[in-house]
């Protein structure tokens, strides 16, 4: 048993000056150095004795780390250290990527969202990260800077396991690039917590739908799930069903069943696997119905 009187251990703090310096530090001290942005996760874990880095390297002040840029021809470029509140309230995000704003707004509490960053939320690679399903259905790319310069990692390839991401040694996240979205799309992120606010997701479901005449149903849907598998996942079977035949209540239900089947949750203090699976179906169904209603209204 961990004695219940934790405390923050002593550590060195370095405010990074350049990306190259960060890469250098990461390469030289792979186990002792941790990157630091909002600190809302890492400081808590350090206080609880779960992490004991010797050095925290603060990267949120590096150029571009808190920049939000929208180019109508390219899409959204989001600095990795952008706070949840900054994302949720940015006009370009609210207008063009409301799903991302909605997801960012469900993270913890308002006070936490002032500190917590979108990049940090993703880099933790927690299966429960609220922005992860949004990033997956928006088909974003995560831009890593490392020893050999910049590379782009598709969101669907980024999450490898609980706390494990696709970064190579010496890499850090600098940006999240979100492409322009398909015309006429609508999205929802539905999150189930134990109480109405501030909780971690027991289940999170993101749905993005848009007209697409190249498929049988004339509509494409992307569905992603949080907190019900070792990583945030896309429910690809559900997406296939929705593309494959005309959208009816029955199709929506079949897709929701398929989403449930894609979930492999665990039992823990927060909920049972059985409940989580059932909630994937219920929330997917609800999100699909809402998105479908919005799509139908326009077309």
């Amino acid at each position: 048993m961990n004695l219940p009187h934790p405390g923050l251990p002593s550590f060195d703090y370095i405010r990074a000056q350049t990306l190259e310096q960060v890469v250098d530090l990461l390469l030289k001290h792979p186990t002792d150095v941790r990157l630091f942005m909002g600190g809302t996760d890492i400081l808590v874990q350090m206080r609880d004795g779960l992490l004991e880095p010797k050095t925290l390297v603060d990267v949120k002040h590096l150029p571009g780390m808190t920049t939000i840029e929208f180019d109508p021809d390219v899409g959204l470029r989001l600095g990795a250290a952008t706070s949840m509140n900054a994302v949720a309230q940015h006009q370009a995000v609210v207008e063009n990527y409301p799903l991302l704003a909605e997801a960012a707004n469900t993270v913890a509490s308002y006070q936490l969202r002032n500190r917590a960053t979108v990049g940090g939320n993703l880099c933790n690679a927690s299966p429960a990260a609220d922005t992860a399903p949004a990033i997956l259905v928006l088909e974003a790319s995560l831009i890593a800077f490392g020893p050999s310069g910049e590379r782009s990692i598709p969101a669907e390839k980024f999450f490898l396991g609980p706390g494990e991401s696709a970064f190579n040694q010496g890499e850090l996240l600098t940006r999240i690039d979100i492409p322009l979205l398909p015309k006429g799309c609508h999205g929802r992120y539905l999150k189930l917590g134990r109480n109405a606010g501030g909780d971690l997701a027991l289940v999170g479901v993101a749905v993005l739908g848009y007209p697409d005449e190249t498929v049988d149903s004339d509509y494409r849907f992307r569905v992603a799930l949080a907190s019900v598998a070792p990583t945030p996942i896309r429910a690809l079977k559900a997406e296939e069903i929705l593309a494959g035949k005309s959208i009816t209540d029955e199709t929506l239900q079949q897709a929701s069943d398929a989403a449930m089947d894609a979930a492999e949750p665990i039992d823990d203090v927060r909920a049972s696997a059985r409940y989580r699976k059932a909630m994937v179906r219920a929330l997917t169904r609800r999100a699909l119905s809402e998105v479908w209603a919005m799509l139908r209204e326009e077309n």
Binding site: M1, L3, P4, H5, P6, G7, L192, R194, N195, A196, G197, G198, D199, L200, V269, R270, A271, S272, R274, Y275, A278, M279, A282, L283, R285, R286
Partner: protein, 785 residues
């Protein structure tokens, strides 16, 4: 308008929602809490080594490596615990001597120059344990051959109304045998039997426990603590350390939330024992939130087996109850919760035949202690659900069923006490009407179900028969008043109510009254404890008496000065007036310096100080075998809550639309504060009903932080809370008042459960009604159908 006639319109502050007297201090940050106090460079920090095992023998404790760490000043072990401590049953050492009984039990303590060094030193203390089989369930604990937690139970000092069973894990067994239950069943047309469970929950006060102790060079102790019971702490620590009460001084600043967790002694004892090792140095102990979950009091768990029978016309004939309290490692306080639940086991119903057994069972779980409601929220969870089930079986409306059977003034209750006048029926009528009882209302969506439910309750202050209060009032030169009380302001508004009572009795403006705070056992008048919703009533009586004493002195002095009869005089708006002569004199002219006698004959009077006390003198004991007696308690506060809610059948989430909360408070001294208690009770009650549960696995809390111990926040509260004040006066209450601090959380959970049952036809028998539990119950019902 002249001065005299103006004073006649001076309004009494009683029954007025005056602004809280501590509001400005608290919103500006001026109010001092224990952790705000500064102790200078000599301050040391205490930290405690705690047992990782639920049950073990301590073979060896070695603090030598901890002592060698630079910055460590001293260490303590069980050897430094002189004697047992405990409120009703002295069953624990401050630091364990031979055995640990729960995960978190204090084994050793270190005192260091900083908290972090103390933490580090704790890790250097070596403890060797011989692990014992634990008791993790009260039903296991009562079985013959179960591991014994307290083999010395028979040796412990115990209050005479507590009945421990040495050689078992039963720390108290309370019985009611009234009428003939077995004979009554055959006369019943409907009998319902059901078990209910309540898990451990925690008080989670905003301010965690904190105490600073200093022992001076002569051995006297000063303790600064966030405390609901400065005097009880002084007394218990004195007894545990074989000291005189006058050699211990407890100073108790504002408390950032108590709910019972800061009653009695917990962390304070460890601070005192550690401070004795470093005379001259104050030693600070403060619990982290995690420690709060492990080591502070929890609300006891409960398994309730209940059977109720009624005739077809709705009359309840018999009730049989067995309560198994999961009381934890030490039951020094919990034994009286067991007793209170026994003598309240019928709920506020008139039932001629009663058979009740309430067992306080030692388990290797966190220590059960007092929490808002003192057993009543736990037992009403079952009582109020089974009453609904009986009404269902009878096909009777639940409001009508309760109105038919609820206690009224003059009825004999479960222990044979004649009930004083109560407004319970009025509460039932008003609360049910407030949610349009009987009218069907549609749910807001096809996948939602709407339901209404209600629950009634009673609760008496559970305390020793002779728990007393005292107060003094002291006039200052300008006729402002220092009001001395020993009751604590724990957020419930006691200082405001005390101020209103003193001002009303003395006849001075409200803002002339200043509470002499913080409560300091060296200067403040005695108060048993700030618990049991007893201050407005008990301390209020003492304040009124003290103020009347001062007022009498004032009138005598002025009457002599004017050569009038004191009965013709009064104090209004800060001046003494005569109805007869229409003379008037401001209080400031006489309350300290007295008044000259006529013709230069000298002076009369002197600084005015009034004192008063109150102690109930009419409580009698209960028969050990039958639980019957003349008057077991001072009074019962009663009430009713009615809930209108809807349930999302796809997720199991409960949404509270309206909660009406009606309580008979005798007299609302400050109506807004009464309403705030009702609102707070509903929110805390709903929080325990839907969210809260300290998950214990092999005695180890699995969710000891707010990440996974969820409590209701502002987004979770009902859309509407409708507080309703009912006033049927208490004969010995000030202005007829009785307490209402705890009561509004008592019926909330069963009222919600009853509304859920009405909405879904599904009954949840174990708290909390999490979305998951509700959803799975719906699935189970669908599966059956």
């Amino acid at each position: 308008m002249d001065a005299v006639s103006k004073s006649h319109v001076f309004p009494s502050p009683i029954g007025e929602s005056v602004t809280r007297v501590d509001a400005l201090e608290k919103v500006t940050g001026e109010a001092k809490f224990t952790d705000d106090l500064q102790f200078g460079a000599g301050l040391l920090y205490g930290q405690v080594v705690r047992s990782p095992h639920p049950h073990a023998i301590i073979k060896r404790v070695d603090v030598s490596r901890a002592l060698a760490l630079p910055g460590v000043r001293a260490a303590v072990t069980g050897e430094d615990s002189d004697d047992h401590i405990g409120l009703y049953l002295k069953d624990r050492y401050i630091f364990c001597r031979d055995r640990v009984r729960f995960v978190g039990d204090p084994v050793a303590g270190v005192i260091a120059v900083s908290e972090s060094i103390a933490d580090e030193a704790c890790r250097l203390v070596e403890v060797e344990y011989e692990v014992l089989e634990p008791v993790l369930d009260p039903l296991q604990g009562v079985q013959e051959g179960a591991p014994l937690l307290h083999p010395d139970l028979g040796e412990y000092v115990v209050a005479d109304f507590i009945d421990p069973k040495p050689g078992t894990n039963i720390a108290n067994h309370f019985k009611v045998r009234k009428g003939d239950v077995e004979a009554a069943w055959s006369k019943c047309d409907v009998i319902v039997e059901c078990d209910f469970r309540v898990p451990h929950v925690q008080h989670v006060p905003l301010e965690t426990h904190v105490a600073v102790a200093r022992v001076d060079q002569t051995g006297k102790i000063i303790l600064w603590s966030s405390s609901q019971s400065p005097f009880a702490q002084r007394n218990l620590i004195a007894e545990a350390l074989n000291m005189s009460q006058s050699d211990i001084r407890v100073i108790a600043p504002y408390v950032g939330g108590g709910f019972g967790s800061k009653a009695g002694v917990s962390v304070e004892g460890t601070a005192v024992v550690m401070a004795r090792k470093v005379p001259g140095h104050p030693v600070k102990m403060r619990l982290t939130r995690e420690e709060e979950f492990y080591c502070a009091f929890v609300r006891q768990g409960l398994i309730a087996r209940t059977k109720v029978g009624a005739k077809s016309d709705g009359e309840i004939l018999a009730m049989k109850t067995e309560y198994y309290w999961d009381a934890g490692a030490y039951t020094e306080y919990g034994v009286n919760i067991t007793r209170a639940s026994g003598y309240s086991s019928t709920g506020p119903y008139r039932i001629p035949n009663v058979h009740a057994d309430s067992y306080c069972v030692y388990t290797n779980h966190p220590v059960g202690g007092p929490m808002r409601g003192f057993g009543m929220p736990e037992i009403h969870w079952g009582i109020e659900q089974i009453m609904d089930m009986v009404a269902d079986e009878l096909g009777m409306d639940k409001v009508a069923f309760r109105l038919k059977n609820c206690l009224r003034g003059g009825d004999k209750n479960v222990t044979g006490m004649t009930m004083h006048p109560i407004g319970l029926a009025e509460c039932i009528e008003k609360a049910s009407k407030a949610i349009n009882w009987g009218e069907k209302a549609p749910a807001s969506a096809p996948h939602k179900r709407r339901g209404k439910g209600l629950a009634i309750m009673w609760k008496a202050p559970a305390m020793p028969p002779n728990a007393g209060s005292s107060a003094w009032v002291r006039f200052n030169e300008d006729a402002t008043v220092s009001l001395g009380i020993g009751g604590q302001e724990i957020g419930q508004g006691s200082f405001t109510v005390a101020t209103q009572m003193a001002a009303a009795t003395l006849g001075v403006p409200l803002d002339w009254i200043h509470i002499s705070a913080p409560v300091d056992t060296k200067y403040s008048p005695y108060e048993w404890q700030t618990v049991a919703s007893r201050l407005t009533w008990s301390m209020g009586n003492a304040i009124v008496q003290a103020a009347e004493d001062a007022r009498r002195q004032i009138l005598d002095i002025v009457a002599a000065y004017w050569d009038e009869d004191p009965n013709d005089l009064d104090v209004k708006d800060g001046q003494v007036i005569s109805f007869k002569s229409e003379n008037a004199i401001p209080l400031k002219d006489m309350v300290v310096y007295g008044l000259p006698l006529p013709d230069d004959q000298g002076w009369h009077g002197g600084p005015i100080i009034g004192h008063g006390n109150f102690m109930p003198t009419y409580i009698t004991s209960l028969d050990n075998e039958t639980g019957q007696g003349q008057r077991a308690v001072v009074h019962y506060t009663t009430g009713c809550q009615a809930v209108d809610l809807e349930v999302d059948t796809e997720t199991g989430q409960i949404h509270l639309l309206r909660v009406a909360s009606a309580f008979d408070v005798g007299k609302a001294i400050n109506p807004d504060q009464v309403r705030a208690q009702m609102e707070g009770g509903v929110v805390q009650g709903a929080s325990t009903a839907i969210l809260e549960c300290l998950q214990l696995k092999d005695g180890v809390p699995q969710n000891p932080s707010f990440t996974d111990y969820r409590i209701a926040t502002s987004v979770d509260i009902p859309d509407e809370i409708i507080p309703i004040i009912v006033e049927v006066p208490q004969d010995d209450g000030p202005w007829g008042a009785r307490g209402v601090g705890e009561h509004p959380m008592v019926p909330t959970a069963p009222a919600i459960a009853n509304a859920v049952a009405a909405a879904l036809g599904v009954r949840i028998l174990e708290m909390p009604m999490t979305p998951e539990k509700v959803f799975l119950a719906i699935q189970e019902k669908l599966g059956e159908a």
